[in-house]
Amino acid sequence: MTQVKEKERKLTIARAMAEAIAQEMRTDDKVFVMGEDIGELGGVFGNTRGLHEEFGGERVRDTPISETAFIGAAVGAASDGMKPVVELMFVDFFGVCFDAIYNMMAKNTYFSGGNVTVPMVLMTSTGGGYSDGGQHSQCVHATFAHLPGMKVVAPSNAYDAKGMMIAAIRDPNPVVFMFHKALQGMGWLGTEKEAIVHVPEAAYEVELGKAIVTRPGTDVTIVGITSGVHFGLKAARILGEQGVSAEVVDLRSLAPLDRDTVIESVKKTGRLIVVDEDYHSYGMTAEIIASVVEAGVPLKAAPQRVAYPDIPIPFARPMEQWALPSPEKIIAAFNKMKED
């Protein structure tokens, strides 16, 4: 984040997202918002707050509980000159509407040989940790990122959230914008304070598809996204106290995936830990590890993953907290590397 620190203006991710959408709506009347409870209510997760008041019900439309219809409609509207920003309230609900997402939104550009574009943003909340049970706590990063034709991004702080939302709205391609509930800055979901950072008032873009080294280091690379970045940063600080210099890479985008930044980092550190709140198998952690080893990067120890186990997310706090990634698990993974 190369932000110039004028006057500190700390925003939550929720407010940063709403500000980004509002700014684009002011300058581009093709931008509009659709979804459940995104109007008067301002979005269950606050990321459309104020939009209905400013732009009215025509451009900020509450929909029926019909995800297939309104996401399908967004595809049609986007290809007819509009720039819809639609919300899938929880990413866990993708199963009722995924065809509209992965077979239409993501593929129509290709099917038309690039003659039809689908400039839309699908924003959706991810993540658990607050005991919302197995149908309201998932990340399913890899489910989206595995399928071609859509960009998939997921910021870990408000600065990136604003810049990536603006970039997403301006992108002529479909972008899935995932925001993690625990980072959202809604008090009632708990708040990761480090996600609340300075956000410049003027509109700016953060390029999609670029990872960032959030904390430089030399002994081990910790790669994460959304909550994983914050677990990684906390672990890095503890490791720092133990004299271990950990580099933390925030992927920010799952697709396109910035393999170069990860590979550069691991070339330097020789050790790799990948952290993901999404399920373990066939997930982001495997993709990062495979990308590094197939590039032939020399490793000082076997790479490690700290991901969600391959179980539905349990409701009870002790079970859920036990299953989540954590700084402690990252440190344990590092210690395991030392044994190698």
């Binding site: 929909t63 509980i65 079970m319």
Partner: protein, 328 residues
């Protein structure tokens, strides 16, 4: 089909249990969540959808059912679960996330499964209907008795799953009843803003089945209409779609500011709270006395207190038990 006095009392008593249960949950839910409301804290974390006001939908239907009948419900399942006879202690413990809960705490309040009374639910809108149709099919194929009842909200009637399941039930003429609890809100979006017609029961036409709208949030009226439908289903007469006008006396979930509600709506609804309304009616008709009412109230409180105490006293499963029961 008129309920007997006994049936009316059964309905009233179960409404009391349901309401007291929700009131207890409501209070406990707030423990550890003040002054700063954080859903993750307290003895009952996560989302909490209370059913206050919707009890008539539960009792008016379930009064016709036995344990072997199948009921599927939604993200707002407590009242229906109670009327269906789900073990109250095990359900309370589940809501607390305890090892003694129905699933040992794996499911939580939106995932109440009690196979002893064939009750289940899903937190995904519209996903109560398919499994009910399947259970009804299973009964026909196995030549086992029993009907299936799928509950859903009026908002869920705009979900594709609704349409598909009702059509399939219509084609196969299965013994299944679809019960829409029309509390006129889907979170902050009104029925009027989300549904192209006034009554979802009119959609029955699309599926070749009878459709009924029941006004007044009245257990007796519900008992009547649903009773016909269930009898028809039991006799091989196929499915029915029923929409029940009801009221959501609480927020969508706990923590809901409800700024979207028109001024006065909530107060007006409170005035027609179905529990005092029923009580008065039972009194007026001489079915209930003050003494009997006091006894029922006490009994209901005792049941709820016992369940809550059981839940509180129970242990959590060991954290690593999270890895179990993915497969059997």
């Amino acid at each position: 089909m008129k309920p007997s006095q006994e049936q009316q009392v059964w309905m009233y008593r179960h409404m009391l249990v349901s309401r007291f249960f929700e009131e207890a949950i409501e209070k406990i839910y707030m423990e550890g969540k003040t002054p700063a409301f954080n859903m993750a804290n307290g003895p009952i974390p996560g989302e909490m959808h209370l059913s206050n006001g919707q009890e008539p939908c539960a009792v008016g239907v379930c009064a016709h059912l036995t344990a072997e009948d199948v009921v599927t419900s939604t993200h707002r399942p407590h009242h229906v679960a109670i009327a269906k006879g789900v073990d109250l202690k095990a359900m309370a413990a589940e809501i607390f996330g305890k090892k003694t809960g129905l699933s040992g705490g794996r499911g939580g309040h939106m995932h109440i499964f009690d196979p002893k009374v064939n009750f289940s639910c899903s937190g995904i809108i519209g996903q109560s209907v398919g499994p009910a149709v399947g259970a009804a099919l299973s009964r026909v194929m196995q030549k086992k008795s029993g009907v299936a009842v799928a509950y859903l909200g009026e908002g869920a009637a705009n979900q594709g799953a609704f349409h598909e399941a009702l059509n399939m039930a219509g084609v196969w003429q299965l013994p299944v009843i679809f019960v829409i609890e029309d509390n006129s809100w889907g979170i902050s979006v009104s029925k009027r803003a989300s549904t192209a017609i006034e009554r979802n029961s009119d959609r029955a036409v699309s599926y070749g089945m009878p459709g009924e709208f029941i006004e007044g949030n009245d257990p007796v009226a519900i008992f009547d209409v649903v009773g016909e439908a269930i009898a028809r289903a039991r006799n091989g007469g196929g499915p029915t779609l029923i929409e029940i006008e009801t009221s959501r006396l609480a927020g969508h979930f706990m923590g809901d500011g409800e700024a979207y509600r028109p001024a006065g709506e909530k107060e007006a609804l409170q005035k027609i709270d179905p529990i005092p309304v029923m009580k008065q009616r039972l009194m007026a008709e001489g079915i209930l006395t003050d003494a009997a009412d006091a006894a029922f109230v006490e009994e209901a409180h005792a049941l709820v207190d016992e369940a809550i105490q059981f839940a509180r006293d129970s242990e959590y499963a060991a954290p690593e038990e999270a890895m179990e029961k993915v497969f059997v």
